[in-house]
Subunit: 158 residues, 2 copies
DNA sequence: GAGCTATACTTGAGTCGTCAACTAATATAG
DNA sequence: CTATATTAGTTGACGACTCAAGTATAGCTC
């Protein structure tokens, strides 16, 4: 009569570990980023993806796919970044439906400013707890879960 | 001149892996749970924690701590569960400030009904991709991150 | 080249959670 | 015992997303 399905299995432990650690880390790192630079983690990720993209621009759809957000989520995210001047809209010559999100110089500047402390925060969270090997193991395992398609910063369109 | 701070380190890979996998898994598992049982992941977790607690009740504060939510987040979460009849309010004799969240029979019923398919979903996500050993490794690594205080499935209060 | 389907994006409404401010009860100190 | 601090909880305003619906452009098929 003990709680049969009620926990214990490694898969469940991994799952709750993922839930909790995400919550804790996200909260901490996001607070850091917001208070130091006025950016959320997703803001930061947008700037980062744009910075790595050819021409520093990306279709909204592609951004959505990379960040695992919906199209409308991206619209809303970019609203803020556009208002702040970090991202601008760009037209596509061959397809009038697409609007590019283009990283402005100001946006790149902002990203550079934020990267130091943010990456520092991330590294501290992880590197203070794990060895290099462990981090590679962890990253490798996580990479096999859905959503982590290592889209590669590479430039080839589909 | 390559992007210096712009990725690559295992700690950063682990971090983005955590972000993405959480997003993807959460979305999938939550959708499943909502459509099959009308519960969110957090609803489910509340019911689960209550079911394991002595007397099937927990102070709101303790629930907040376990779920890594704020006090007001808990108030709102419980609002819904109380309206649904899965959780009731209980008074504390020795301290009039505290309100317990008490799992009702209906709530336990609901949890039982949901547990099967939810745990099944979680296991499928994880066990289809990893061996038992890998899952233990993953769980063990995640447990060392903040927020994963393995409050123990056991019943002993502090 | 007319009609259908698919794709890119936006918008309104709603959900879930946060923070800051507030009430109420308890604990602690002088 | 009174004054102050601390703890439990709720509430209003708001932020970040989602979903469903809508608009506009593109592409396919006959």
């Amino acid at each position: 009569m003990r709680s049969q399905v009620f926990e214990e299995r490694p898969s469940l432990l991994a799952w709750v570990g993922l839930l909790r650690s995400h919550s804790a880390l996200t909260r901490a790192l996001n607070a850091e980023l917001v208070s130091a630079h006025g950016l959320t983690i997703n803001d930061y990720e947008v700037l980062l993806h744009l910075a790595r993209a050819p021409e520093r621009q990306l279709r909204r759809v592609d951004l959505a796919e990379r960040l695992l957000l919906t199209a409308s989520g991206i619209t809303r995210l970019l609203d803020g970044l556009e208002r702040a001047g970090y991202v601008a809209k760009g037209q596509c010559k061959s397809d009038a439906r697409v609007t590019y999100a283009v990283l402005t110089d100001e946006g790149l500047e902002k990203l550079r400013a934020a990267a130091d402390s943010h990456v520092g925060g991330v590294r501290q969270q992880f590197e203070s707890r794990f060895s290099e090997d462990e981090l590679e193991t962890l990253a490798g395992l996580l990479a096999r879960l859905p959503g982590v398609d290592t889209d590669g910063a590479s430039c080839s369109p589909d």
